[in-house]
């Protein structure tokens, strides 16, 4: 279990290798990578800047990760979230979950992403091709996604 908030990119293979090395109880590794899309609301994107709340970000991510590991019997997990300026095609976030079986790995990965999206204090500001800045609005569907976990686990 570990969390990083960093400007630099991450390497998925290396992160998975670090998490799984030596633990042959792991039969399933699920990962999610979020990336900067080149278009937003029909307008082309020049770049994006990710602001966060240092200290609270790490604390929230660690708390979400801890909750996920307990709920889905994960053997290991990892969250990396980038901050600062990013361009279309760049990686934003990496979540890796390891478990004995794939059901737990997948559910843990989705749960972690859903909670990260609604609780971790990050804010995206997009810059369009003509230079205008615009703060990204929170998506209602992210709020909807997170409510599905509030029923008893399946």
């Amino acid at each position: 279990m570990s969390v990083s908030v960093q400007e630099k990119d991450f390497d998925v293979s290396a992160e998975i290798e670090t998490l799984t090395r030596g633990d042959t109880g792991i039969g399933a590794v699920a990962t999610f990578i979020g990336k900067v899309r080149g278009e937003a609301h029909g307008a082309r994107l020049q770049s994006m800047t990710l602001e966060h709340y240092p200290g609270m970000t790490e604390a929230e991510l660690a708390s979400i990760e801890q909750e996920t590991v307990a709920r889905f019997r994960l053997s290991a997990s990892r969250v990396v979230h980038r901050i600062g300026p990013l361009n279309p095609g760049d990686n934003i976030v990496l979540v890796v979950t390891c478990a004995a079986h794939r059901g737990d790995a997948f559910a843990g990965c989705e749960f972690l992403m859903d909670y990260l999206k609604t609780r971790a204090p990050f804010w995206k500001k997009e810059t369009g091709v003509s230079g205008e800045g615009r703060w990204v609005d929170a998506r209602d569907c992210d709020e909807t996604a997170v409510t599905r976990w509030q029923k008893p686990a399946g």
């Binding site: 979020g34 602001e51 709340y53 976030v93 990050f122 804010w123 992210d142």
Partner: protein, 93 residues
Amino acid sequence: MSASATSTRRVSIRYFAWVREKTGRAEETVEIGPGILTIGDLVAWLRTRGPEYDAAFSSPGTVRAAIDMTHVKPDAKISGAREIAFFPPVTGG
């Protein structure tokens, strides 16, 4: 009334994303009066401090708050808070 109930308190406030841009500051330390008990009270008081604050908090229920780096609701008590933060709904991931 006891002394603590009448005295003012110093609290550090931080602003993020468009709340920061609208208030025009990233952080400040303010003296708040004894009548300000909750996040909601604090927001109401901040809005009286100038048009930039009023604009930042003008759409009700939009700006979120944290006390000492934990998400809280508008009715959360601020007694004992060292750092209060205001920000838009989060958009990471």
